[in-house]
Symmetry: C2
Subunit: 341 residues, 2 copies
């Protein structure tokens, strides 16, 4: 394709669907010359980004994520908002897009003019998938989408990636906490700013018990909500968000308004106390370093000296024949072509 | 000093205190020629390591860590075991060793022939401190210490480092969970294989309430205890450890036997089901990669091209003028001296 970056940027900012789709396709391209153009495009779009609300959503298959997102999306559109739905599913390159983002899945929402749904980019590693989704999010923001929903599947490391690129991270959960909590990966629930017990009508007693239990656990363990900038917060005297647990039933459409009101409350509190701005800055810098780390590690693995000796060192470390720190030092010396002293 | 590595290794294996102390001092040296000898020493000692139990212990100042470790250490020595106490306190280089490892703190234990207490190495970064402590742990193992206790302070990232180099991670906690849990850093409690409510006699009602609340939360959120190797575990049909919460009062010496019985139970279960062996292998490989990452990042930061442009890119990313991924790519190009295409 013939690519004119300023034209493409303009088309995105005018919110033309074809322009948005083409821009994201360019960002997903692996061709080095495309990558250069993609970076130019991103830099051109960046002044137009930052105005949407970035909502991360996780939950294992079967929890009713698609139905929930569809109800929410239509609810938001009825309120006059534009909604984009993106996905991170590192398994999609293997399974051909097992679960996320395909349009047939959200039939009603995908027919809406003010909705934009894009399936997960496929790539062999999470870092690559997350990078492309993060950039697609910026494109959607520049195109004036008011809410960007980024969904993921609740079983792998992709949750951390989603929590680290959104303003709010929501976990969907089934009512019977005891067993089904095992299904969501350990360490995910603690990142939630909000837990939603979906299909609460199936077993109201269990849902209420789960709500109490998760609320109490989040109070003890939650990672967000009790920010580390404690002194700053105490000084500013602003209200702080505490992670919450809601019950809803997406199938009957009940609770979506309640959900959105809670999101609005979260957004208000964290805009006022500066956490969203701070979180975005922290996320951007962390993301820069995480991509640098990934690039350095790739260069390391592709280095001839390292490639030759890495399998042997790995085996020796695994078998306890050489200390991990010794192996690391010797591999780094091989990488840097140094001689030892 | 004149260093003879085989002689030093022999002295360590014979469990001579002076040899152990000298070996750890060599490992802590920052001189490049010492580093080479230190790696030789580690490699010589490695066949003698692995037989101790590695116990990580965390808790904020005031929770009674020193008293607890002293009671435990003397209890273990009375049982005929040799005990080493190491520490990770990244703040020690700033504060001059604020809290950990000084001998005056554990007066009774430090007088025991079968106890070896070593304060935290001082260094400006956690990675360096953790590396030295990890290596000191191997020296103590080679010297025949049966239990190596690695303590840390419960307020920083050092907890993850300790959890990642030990067989079992224990968090000490005060009875009044509500407020004092705020003092321990978010994300630490979830890593605990065992939580100990110390000074339970101060407020027995609060201690029992905290015990119930933490037990229920660990069941939901704990990272260990529900290992990710789920299929393997199901197949092996072996018993699995579930994180527990104990009450004790270290001051009155009550509960140390109960604590140690619980540790023994943990050790038995996780020896039988293979988790300790697996955890050690995973830890060694993870540690190798974490040191490689640290080395790569250091080389990156010291690169002339990077040094020149990093501050500017950092500022632009923070201010939203350039996308994080674009900045990362351009910095990597500067590092690798490439031209763009």
């Amino acid at each position: 394709m013939q690519i004119n970056v300023p034209q493409m940027a303009e088309s995105v900012v005018r919110s033309e669907r074809r322009g948005v789709a083409k821009a994201i396709t360019l960002l997903e391209s692996t061709r080095p010359d495309h990558r250069v153009l993609a970076d130019e495009l991103l830099t051109a779009l960046l002044p137009h980004t930052g105005k949407s609300f970035r909502l991360g959503l996780s939950g294992v298959p079967g929890v009713g994520k698609s139905t929930f997102i569809e109800s929410l999306g239509i609810y938001l559109i009825r309120q006059g908002l534009k909604v984009a739905v993106l996905a991170i599913d590192p398994s999609s390159s293997l399974s051909g897009g097992s679960i996320l983002g395909d349009k047939t899945r959200m039939e009603r929402l995908s027919m809406e003019q003010d909705a934009y749904i894009r399936p997960s980019p496929s790539s062999c590693n999470l870092g690559g998938v997350a990078e492309k989704t993060r950039e697609a999010m910026l494109v959607c923001e520049a195109a004036g989408y008011d809410v960007v929903i980024i969904e993921t599947v609740g079983v792998g490391q992709s949750e951390t990636a989603v929590a680290n690129m959104t303003d709010m991270f929501v976990v969907l959960q089934l009512p019977n906490a005891g067993d089904d909590l095992q299904a969501i990966k350990k360490g995910v629930m603690e990142m939630a700013d909000l837990v939603v017990i979906n299909k609460a009508d199936i077993d109201p007693v269990a849902a209420t018990r789960a709500q109490a239990q998760i609320t109490s656990s989040l109070r003890l363990f939650a990672m967000h909500g009790n920010p580390e900038h404690g002194a700053h917060d105490a000084a500013s005297q602003k209200a702080q968000w505490q992670p919450k647990v809601l019950q809803i039933s997406a199938l009957q459409g009940s609770g979506v308004d309640n959900f959105w009101n809670t999101v609005q409350e979260y957004r208000q509190i964290n805009a006022d106390n500066g956490h969203i701005a701070q979180r975005r800055q922290d996320q951007s810098l962390a993301w820069m370093w995480e991509r640098i780390d990934a690039g350095l590690k790739q260069a390391f693995r592709q280095n001839a000296g390292v490639r030759d000796s890495l399998p042997q060192f790995t085996e020796q470390v695994r078998d306890g024949k050489i200390a991990a720190s010794t192996a690391a030092r010797q591999l780094l010396q091989a990488f840097q072509g140094q001689t030892g002293l």
